[in-house]
Every structure is written in structure tokens, then in C-alpha cells.
């Protein structure tokens, strides 16, 4: 169960951090 939970949390964390990174790239481009 811990492994399943870890996988789900990993996917969510990846999505959040990737979207933050994409916004940062967009900010850099706009400057």
C-alpha cells in the first residue's frame, strides 16, 4: 500500500513541479 501511495504522490508532485517549471520558463522568455 505504501508503494502505491508513493507512486500516486510521485505523479502528483511531478505534475505540480513540472507546471511550476513551465511557468518559470515562460517568465524568463517574457523578460
Amino acid at each position: 500500500m505504501s508503494l502505491a501511495l508513493g507512486l500516486i504522490l510521485l505523479v502528483i508532485a511531478l505534475v505540480i513541479n513540472l507546471s511550476a517549471q513551465m511557468v518559470r520558463w515562460k517568465v524568463k522568455k517574457s523578460f
Partner: protein, 197 residues
């Protein structure tokens, strides 16, 4: 090796079956991270704007302190908040220890310097002409601030998302201040005391 294969197979089965308990735990993590990022943003964005936008005597010192706080170990935050909200601590009578609110406080402290520093950097790197043009065109204080916020909205969004991602991935504070997570999502009024079980 068999143990590992069995664990992976079981994990995927639980995920594909959309096991209720796992989804609930993931939902609690998301919810707590959301509230932590929201609380931290409410404090860090105004402070970041005022520090980034204004020039004052101790600006460099404030920036140095904020950047140092970025490296604050999560265990230290957990211990500090633990001593504050534990039963004998100054905020002990609120009963926040081992409750979702305690976790939110700890994680908000973690996210605060991250969001604040990023907002400060966004405002420092903002073209000064945006502010000057707004003032010269007769915009009042509120209108000028709205223009600057519009110019920096993506940077602020990036700061909030980074803070959100950081607190979502944080486990030390949640364990120290939230106790065992079964009590956290099954009954938020349940107070788990170490040594009870």
C-alpha cells in the same frame, strides 16, 4: 526479489482499482499542501511586493535573511512548531498538535521564504519603466499596483506553484506535527499521543 515483484504488482493493483484509502490519503496531502501554500502566499506575496518594490535601509539584510531561510532544515521547523503548539507550549491550549491545522502552520512556514524570495526577485527584475510610466500617466497608488501585479502575474504564479510543490513533497513536518496519518484523515479531532499505543 519475489518480495519486490509482489509489492509492485500489489501497488499497481491498488492504483488501478482506485483504492479508496490511498485516494483519501493523497487527497489529504493535496488539501493540506493547498492550504499551506495559500496561507504562506497571503503573507509572502504582500511582503515580497513591498520588499521588491521599495528601497529602504535594511533591504540587503532582509534579502539575506530571506535567502538564508530557504535553507532552513524542515526538522528545525517541525521542532520549533512542535514546541510552540505542544501541550506545554505557549500555543498549547489551542490543541493544534497532531491536527491538520498544525501541519498547515509548519508547512506554511516552510513555503513562506520560498514564495517571498521568488516574488522579491520578480519585482526586482521587473522593468522600472512600468512603474514610472504608470505614475507619469496619472495612475493612483491602487492602479499602479494593479498594473505591476498584471506585469508580474506569471512570476507570482510560478512562486506560488513552487511553494505548493515544495510543501506537497514535504513529509518530515507532516509526520512531526500531524502524527500518524490515519488519525488525520479519519477523525481530525482525534488526538494521538505518543506512547498511547
Amino acid at each position: 526479489m519475489d518480495y519486490l515483484i509482489t509489492a509492485w504488482v500489489e501497488a499497481w493493483q491498488l492504483i488501478l482499482r482506485a483504492d479508496r484509502q490511498i485516494l483519501e490519503i493523497a487527497w489529504v496531502s493535496l488539501r493540506l499542501a493547498f492550504w499551506s501554500a495559500l496561507v504562506a502566499s497571503c503573507l509572502a506575496i504582500p511582503m515580497g511586493i513591498s520588499v521588491g518594490q521599495q528601497d529602504f535601509k535594511y533591504k540587503k539584510l532582509v534579502l539575506a535573511v530571506l535567502q538564508t531561510l530557504l535553507a532552513l532544515p524542515t526538522v528545525v521547523i517541525g521542532l520549533l512548531v512542535y514546541t510552540l503548539i505542544s501541550r506545554r507550549g505557549p500555543a498549547g491550549h489551542f490543541g493544534l498538535l497532531f491536527s491538520p491545522m498544525g501541519v498547515v502552520i509548519g508547512q506554511a512556514i516552510l513555503a513562506f521564504p520560498i514564495i517571498c524570495t521568488m516574488v522579491v526577485n520578480v519585482f526586482i527584475s521587473l522593468d522600472k519603466r512600468a512603474f514610472q510610466t504608470a505614475v507619469h500617466l496619472g495612475a493612483n497608488r491602487r492602479q499602479t499596483m494593479l498594473i505591476l501585479l498584471r506585469e508580474t502575474r506569471l512570476g507570482i504564479l510560478a512562486a506560488v506553484l513552487t511553494g505548493f510543490g515544495r510543501v506537497f513533497g514535504e513529509v518530515g513536518i507532516a509526520m512531526m506535527l500531524g502524527g500518524e496519518y490515519q488519525g488525520l484523515y479519519q477523525d481530525s479531532n482525534h488526538r494521538y499521543c505518543p506512547g498511547d499505543q
